[in-house]
Symmetry: C2
Subunit: 95 residues, 2 copies
């Protein structure tokens, strides 16, 4: 179910590093190098598959730019927030 | 060294699936699902690291959209063409 504006703002308070951009949860991360960036992506890929929820993400060398939305409800849902929370735990090892 | 327009057109003839877009070599690929798309990306990541030449790439579920350019010469170089040739061999297993 699509979160409303207030629920999204409330969720963002618990998601350091994330902002709302173009109606998606958005985070940009810089790693040490490509190998570290892709290591993160491999772990996030497995998490995404387990959750059956996948990001739109762009990788440019050591940068990973993530956009998250729920296509089924055409907005941001609890599934996006839960994905971002788990990914933030992974990212805390790197950045 | 930066390839000129004629050299790029000549290279593209040997690179099925690739086009010139925004002064970059560009290819969009659709896989069966996310797992297959990310399997390709893992193999391409290792090739990129071995070649010390890395793409800009976007993944959205089963889609991978690749842009290739050489930052050192601010254009398309032989290294981009060689990367695309090797990646096309990998892609021939999938698509």
């Amino acid at each position: 179910m699509k979160l409303d504006a207030e629920e999204i703002q409330s969720a963002l308070k618990k998601l350091p590093g994330w902002v709302l951009l173009n109606d998606k949860l958005h985070r940009e991360v810089k790693f040490k190098d490509f190998a570290e960036a892709f290591s993160f992506m491999a772990q996030a890929a497995i998490i995404s598959e387990r959750r059956n929820h996948h990001p739109e993400w762009l990788n440019i060398y050591n940068q990973v730019i993530i956009d998250l939305t729920s296509h089924d409800c055409k907005g941001i849902s609890k599934r996006d927030v839960a994905w971002a929370e788990e990914i933030n735990k992974v990212l805390s090892k790197y950045v």
